[in-house]
């Protein structure tokens, strides 16, 4: 039995007994009966009205309030009262409070991806209104611009490896979600327009590659690229392992075409990883990093497509484009 299966087998061994679980359930029910809930606030609650009317002043007040509302807004999704706070205050604040440039770039890319997922899910569920769509589009634009700025700063600071890797992740996120969004958008002109903007940003990140390759050359010539290569290698291997688990757990919901496509794609990624390791062993850190970044981007795309198939019921992997 491999280590993963041994770990999974713990689930059955470290568990509550039926009696313990029933007792706990009883205690919880008793506690719930004794603790009456307050009435649910109406959709036009004080906070919602204030947020709409007083915009920036309200948000500034939130910042001064000690962060409770910010923390509560982190899980908000389109349609929630605090969703606007998350997009316009919480996330920009968290980015501003991140001082490591590489992490800052990664956070911007992550928020951009989060926005794209929220847009797709809400659109598929038909819960998007015009205001929320505008809010998401504005946030998306800010996060993509933020990521691009951080990548440029990394180049200026001589961190070509980190810049190349971050740009590769950004490009992967944008091109994958443009594909998904196009499928979801259908006849919706606003979503179609956002999809085109995403495609344009993905193209811009491709266009930035010569500059980033030059930055890689510079870093390699200074002999300080090796650390970035090691980090990229570790990250890609971790993502590959994780994807294999996702594929196993998704095996019942994916069709035969999907399996064939995924298996082919994984073989391709494995080939790229082998080539990257060869380059690394032969001392070409630059070529190794480019290959690891490419594998990283491909794996990110596969992972996102599997999630979209499972969560949104879209046929994106083995089906026709």
């Amino acid at each position: 039995m491999n280590p993963e299966n041994k770990l999974i087998s713990i689930q059955k061994r470290v568990a509550l007994t039926d009696t313990e679980k029933a007792e706990g359930r009883g205690r919880l029910l008793a506690h719930m009966a004794l603790t009456k809930r307050k009435a649910e606030p109406s959709p036009l609650s004080f906070m919602a009205v204030m947020q709409v009317r007083y915009g920036a002043a309200f948000l500034a007040l939130l910042l001064l309030s000690g962060g409770g509302v910010l923390a509560a807004s982190e899980d908000a999704t389109p349609g929630d009262t605090l969703y606007g706070v998350k997009l316009t205050v919480t996330e920009p604040t968290l980015v501003a409070l991140t001082f490591n440039r590489k992490e800052k770039a990664a956070l911007e890319v992550e928020y951009a991806e989060r926005r794209l997922k929220e847009l797709t899910v809400a659109s598929k569920a038909k819960t998007l209104d015009e205001g929320t769509t505008r809010l998401i589009a504005a946030s998306l634009e800010n996060r993509i611009e933020g990521a691009e700025e951080e990548i440029s700063e990394l180049v200026r600071e001589g961190e070509g490896g980190d810049a190349y890797h971050a740009n590769s992740e950004l490009r992967g996120v944008l091109s994958t979600h443009a594909k998904i969004l196009k499928k979801v958008a259908g006849e919706d002109p606003t979503l179609a327009a956002i999809s085109l903007q995403i495609e344009a940003s993905a193209t811009a990140s491709v266009a930035a590659e010569p500059e980033l390759t030059a930055a890689l050359d510079s870093q390699e010539s200074r002999g300080v690229l090796r650390e970035s290569v090691e980090e990229s290698q570790e990250e890609v291997v971790a993502i590959l392992e994780d994807l294999r688990i996702d594929m196993e757990s998704a095996s019942t919901t994916l069709d035969q075409d999907d399996h064939v496509t995924l298996t082919d794609s994984l073989s391709e990624v494995t080939g790229i990883l082998e080539a990257a390791t060869r380059e690394k062993d032969e001392g070409s850190a630059k070529e190794a990093l480019k290959l690891y970044s490419s594998a990283d981007s491909m794996l990110g795309e596969l992972k996102t497509l599997i999630e979209a198939e499972q969560e949104l019921g879209l046929d994106l992997i083995g089906g026709e484009e």
């Binding site: 087998s9 470290v14 509550l16 205690r27 603790t35 509560a72 992550e110």
Partner: protein, 166 residues
């Protein structure tokens, strides 16, 4: 946002109690204390909801509450190692019914390998492999980037592999 009513909160108990118990267990290594922490997390979360506040992701909220309660618990009590507990009281970490002595021995090896991990590594391994949470959700619970979590899982799994190699 869908309101979390009594019925859905009890469903959350049915769905997550075991996983949260395990998460607490691998932090405090004490079955009774882990049970109490898990129970306390549900009671406090309900009080939070009852006070009119909102939660969008109940599972993530419960995990964070268990995490915070276990940190407090660790400060109050000395955490004994698995080895110490076995030496002192022939401690059995859970109500286990081993089919064979070999399985029992293997199980002890896995527990020992987990115990040797750093706490942050053990957290992600338990969430990912024992409880089957996706990386994205673990990252959400821990408020960290998914790639950071993936790398930590990978490193921790490698350590477990090394420990389990004959």
């Amino acid at each position: 946002m869908k309101r979390i009513d009594e019925e859905s909160f009890i469903s959350a108990y049915d769905d997550y109690a075991d996983a949260l118990f395990r998460y607490a267990y691998f932090r405090v290594y004490d079955r009774e204390r882990a049970k109490e922490i898990m129970q306390e997390a549900f009671l406090k979360t309900w009080e939070y909801l009852a006070s009119g506040k909102k939660i969008t992701n109940v599972r993530a909220f419960l995990y964070r509450t268990v995490h915070n309660l276990s940190v407090n618990e660790a400060v109050r009590h000395k955490a004994y190692s698995l080895e110490e507990m076995q030496e002192v009281a022939g401690f059995d970490p859970a109500e286990t019914k081993e089919a064979t002595p070999e399985e029992a021995a293997e199980y002890q090896l896995v527990l020992a390998a987990l115990e040797k991990l750093e706490e942050a590594e053990r957290d992600v391994i338990v969430m990912r492999y024992v409880d089957g949470l996706p990386v994205q959700e673990i990252a959400h619970i821990l408020k960290e980037a998914p790639n950071t979590v993936s790398v930590r899982i990978h490193r921790a799994l490698q350590k477990v592999r090394d420990q389990l190699q004959p």
